[in-house]
């Protein structure tokens, strides 16, 4: 390289440049010679291959580009062709690749032997499970999650309900969004949000009901707040019980007491009617009114007239609402004014605040009600939207229906016609499916932790893709008894498939190493009805294998042993998959599992179920091409088109022409949605003299749920190393607590010693403390309450009474 001397042109330019920059010295930039660096002539031997996948973590459903080199994931980039995240990710998403490479990945099946484990073969592991099931099929339960991919959940569902005629299958999503489901069902007669993320791009007002999306759904939150960087105006309102990063971006922070949301919703409805600002036309054309039927509590309630509805709302004056909720009467008026303005586009977001609530079904229905009453529904920017926390809480749990009472495609086991349809699709003999719902999550674990001779009739639980040892409420009742020898639970058997050792594998009798994320094929469904597909890109470590294969291998072992349930009407194996030569491929043998695309086969079979509730899914290959598609995906003129706004003419192909809005799955069969009145009801546990603090639990940006993956990612683990007690400065001072001090936190159910962080990540008001649940060494669920919503059977993790004491070190 011989260009030490600057070129003449360069020299002139440089002189001029220096002259100009001398005047602006502080910000100017120095120049230099044109030194050239060595040439990188040849391409690297092993180039990075990029392929799409949805992120492994939350329910937002961002697409990432996964960079693979030498059989390993080496980089991740936001997918710029993905509508959800438009190239952006959050810190968890950027580091999702590291989640595969924690040094303590489980790589061998492990069987408990006293206090330790011994490595066993997969053959032995599969036989062990088959033995347990064969001995007592009705005492077996399958506990999964919203992280099951659609094919995995579908296989588990078919294995249990179509094979074992056993309905004891439930997901952790019961703890997460069951009340959102019952809220949608009670209101629209069919589950899942009618709106989509596009609402975030156009809404004028965004109301977050007990929601902290700046940390939990950061990509969606930025999608709104970044509009401000582009000069747009959007009004953000945070209704919450503590200040968070979300509050920082909001114009209004409405601090409420637990269950204040019920009073606020009633307060808004009260004023809309009183001021005559509700949408009379919308209500008269599209809505009925409902109130709970106390004698026969169900999701249908009892019909009431508009006048009755109005009368029931009368006590909820702004002043009374202020008393109940702690939110100023003027702020209630402000909310009512916003909803009363038809010119504004209003979107509501919520997640765990409204779902983990002993009146979760009620408050979900009530927020839908406020939107319906004010007509803020069905057009871009006007939507009540609940968010999910898991990548396939919607796709697998809600659509495949891996719940104790459900069948795929919005069907229920209690309905004879639904059972018959499922038996038809599965080609299993008539009356195979048990009409009695199985145990929901809390009941399942309660039964498991109850000795058999005392009525604990669940003997074996197989856990896949979740960590109940950390996430169940009131662990000392629902999980920890398994540990103690006194509990007389020796005959109970816990099987756990996971990728890392967890609080759950700690008590497992059999641990199975699983493949995760891009180590396997997958299809998931996010919060906005978007179904997303990816292909396997790297091999799982050691003997780790797909969860779906594990279930199919057990099913086949039982088939080999002659169990009738594993045969269809034609005596073929329940999960028979034919190859290109139309011959069955032995997919139960791991070496042959990827000879065919089992995911595609299962998905195509499952797809048939999706039509009844108009949640139509496209063929598998359409999802291969797309960055996800929002159902109903309907074929029109040879194209598969997704649906952005459900029930809305012009967007939803199932709405009849001229109907404008049509709730075509109405529970009253008149194309109308139900606006519910529910009275304000106090939380199941409120602080008193003995336990003076309200404990709220939740997540932090860096860690995804129980942290079993994210705590093994150095960048995330270092940023948020462990759990803490978040407390305000005044309360801390009153107890003599300083940052880093240890506090003993006690509830009626358990206790925990935990370091104090004054006004930590968030800032709770006086009388409230917060503990995140990601730390497996500081299990906040030793403290939480197991009171349930009466309809959804979802517990409330947000309101437990505790007392605090300084621990002298």
């Amino acid at each position: 390289m011989d260009n030490d001397q600057p070129l003449p042109l360069d020299a002139i330019q440089r002189r001029q440049f220096i002259k100009a920059s001398a005047m602006a010295a502080a910000t100017a930039v120095a120049g230099g010679t044109g030194f050239s660096l060595p040439i990188l002539a040849q391409e690297p031997k092993d180039r990075i291959e990029w392929e799409k996948a949805p992120c492994r973590f939350c329910g937002t459903g961002c697409h990432v580009q996964v960079g693979v080199q030498g059989g390993k994931v080496v980089a991740v980039a936001g997918d710029q062709n993905a509508e959800v995240n438009k190239g952006l990710l959050c810190v968890k998403g950027y580091h999702v690749g590291s989640a595969l490479y924690g040094e303590d990945r489980l790589t061998k099946p492990l069987l408990r032997d006293g206090d330790s484990y011994r490595e066993i073969s997969w053959d032995e592991a599969i036989k062990t499970i088959a033995d347990r099931i064969e001995a007592a099929p009705e005492r077996f339960a399958f506990y999964g999650s919203g992280q099951w991919t659609i094919p995995e959940g579908y296989a588990a569902q078919k294995f249990m309900k179509g094979g074992l005629a056993n309905n004891h299958i439930d997901p952790n999503a019961r703890l997460c969004m069951a009340s959102a489901v019952t809220g949608f069902l009670a209101t629209y007669g069919v589950d899942e949000p009618a709106g989509c993320y596009d609402d975030l791009d156009v809404c004028d007002v965004l109301i977050m009901w007990g929601n902290n999306p700046a940390e939990m759904h950061p990509v969606l939150f930025s999608r709104v707040t970044d509009r401000r960087s582009r000069g747009e105006k959007v009004l953000l309102i945070d209704i919450g019980t503590r200040r968070t990063r979300t509050t920082d971006a909001c114009q209004h922070y409405l601090e409420m007491k637990g269950h204040g949301d019920m009073a606020i919703a009633n307060g808004i409805a009260h004023l809309l009617i009183k001021n005559g600002t509700y949408d009379r036309k919308f209500v008269e054309s599209h809505c009925n009114f409902k109130a709970p039927d106390d004698e026969n509590p169900n999701l249908h309630g009892k019909p009431i007239t508009f006048d009755e509805y109005k009368r029931q709302l009368e006590p909820y004056t702004p002043e009374h609402v202020e008393e109940l909720s702690g939110v100023l009467a003027d702020d209630i008026r402000m909310l009512a004014e916003l909803f009363g303005n038809p010119e504004l586009k209003i979107t509501s977001l919520w997640c765990m605040g409204m779902n983990q609530h002993t009146r979760g079904t009620a408050i979900n229905s009530m927020v839908h009600g406020v939107h319906l009453l004010s007509g803020h529904f069905g057009t871009p920017g006007n939507a009540p939207t609940s968010l999910t926390g898991q990548p396939s809480a919607c796709g697998t749990v809600r659509e495949v229906g891996t719940l104790a009472h459900a069948l795929p495609g919005g069907r229920v086991v209690a309905d004879a016609e639904h059972r018959q349809q499922a038996e038809e699709f599965w080609n299993v003999p008539e009356n195979r499916i048990n009409p009695i719902p199985g145990y929901h999550t809390v009941k399942m674990w309660e039964s498991f932790c109850t000795p058999t001779d005392e009525g604990g009739d669940i003997g074996t639980i197989w856990v896949q893709v979740t960590n109940p040892g950390q996430t169940l409420p009131n662990l000392n009742k629902l999980f920890n008894p398994k540990e103690s020898n006194k509990a007389n639970l020796e005959d109970k058997f816990l099987i756990v498939s996971d990728v890392y050792p967890t609080a759950t594998t700690r008590l497992a009798d059999l641990i199975l190493p699983s493949a995760m994320w891009v180590e396997k094929n997958g299809v998931v469904g996010n919060s906005e009805r978007r179904t997303q597909q990816w292909f396997k890109m790297v091999d799982p470590p050691g003997d780790a294998r797909d969860d779906c294969w594990q279930a199919i291998a057990v099913a086949h072992e039982l088939f080999e042993r002659g169990m009738d349930g594993m045969k269809d009407r034609d005596d073929r194996f329940l999960f028979e998959v034919n190859g290109e030569d139309d011959q069955p491929v032995p997919i139960w043998e791991w070496e042959h599992y990827y000879d065919v695309n089992v995911d595609k086969h299962l998905f195509e079979e499952y797809r048939q179920f999706s039509r009844m509730k108009h949640k139509d899914l496209a063929p598998y290959d359409e999802y291969v091409k797309a960055r996800g598609l929002r159902w109903p995906v309907v074929e029109q003129d040879g194209e598969w088109n997704e649906t952005l706004w459900r029930f809305s003419e012009g967007y939803d192909p199932y709405v009849k022409q001229g109907e404008d809005i049509q709730f075509y799955h109405s529970s009253t069969h008149d194309d109308r949605a139900q606006i519910w009145f529910h009275p304000w009801i106090a939380p199941a546990e409120v602080p008193d003299d003995e336990y003076p603090f309200m404990l709220c639990t939740g997540r932090v940006l860096e860690h995804w749920h129980t942290g079993s993956m994210t705590r093994r990612i150095p960048e995330l683990s270092r940023a948020m190393p462990g759990g803490y007690l978040e407390i305000c400065a005044e309360d801390a001072a009153a107890y003599g607590l300083r940052n880093g001090d240890k506090a003993l936190v006690e509830s009626r159910r358990g206790s925990l010693v935990i370091p104090v962080w004054i006004d930590g990540r968030g800032q709770p008001p006086r009388g409230t403390v917060f503990i995140p649940f990601f730390d497996e060494m500081l299990l906040v669920n030793d403290l939480t309450l197991d009171a349930l919503d009466p309809f959804s059977k979802q517990p409330d993790y947000k309101k437990s009474a505790v007392r605090i004491e300084k621990v002298s070190s």
């Binding site: 440089r14 230099g32 010679t33 270092r718």
Partner: protein, 257 residues
Amino acid sequence: MKNAKALSAFVIISLVVAGYFTGLQSPMKTPQLEAPLTIDDGQVEHISVSQPGVIPATNYTKMPQVTRALHRQTLLVSLKSTIDPLAEIKIDPKEKQLALQRRDGNRAYNGAPPTIPHPIDQISDASCVACHGVGFKTESLRISRMSHQFLTNCTQCHVESNPQHLKPAVFRENSFNGVEAPKAGPRAFPGAPPQIPHAIWMRVDCMSCHGTTGLHGIRTTHPWRNNCQQCHAPSAELNQTFLVAEPQFFPSPKIVE
């Protein structure tokens, strides 16, 4: 209100100093820095925190005790810039290597958002923008300007590398081996402008890294040229510009003998 703003600005700036160096001690990739980093050419960025004139880092919890005098001393505008617009930039391959290693030191792979090497305000984004909206360099401090357009949720992607509320400790070992920054962009021939070896996405402002406040070794030698992409071509693949990775053509003419 004003006080609170000024105070938070102070805290951020003062904490940057200590944090900057602690951040370099990333346990994640343990880059083989030839420590201590001293290059005798008058452009040394590294100094020890104990050196005179350096603002001591203030622990978050001690914020209220911070004196007003100290506060005045640390306003961004009162800091002495060490930017010398007349200085010629010479690129030393060793410096370049160090710069790239240093970059690798606080990110999981090339393309990952860098971690924050100093304590942060847990709630306020404004405190980030106060400094990183501008970019600055003093003898002891280098504040990079945001390399992307203004986004409003900084901690969505950037997290602390050494949080103050708890002693950081890696929970479990991880063997993720992220791709490193490329040593250089490919060139067609000696003297040809190198192609940009990284995605441009979220790196819209080239001067953020390659300008005055950038690390030595990766700074541009010709900052007076403003239109970087006039000569330095981006990569369609890295930028995800095309869904089809390879350019497609009509078949060649069929030549019959």
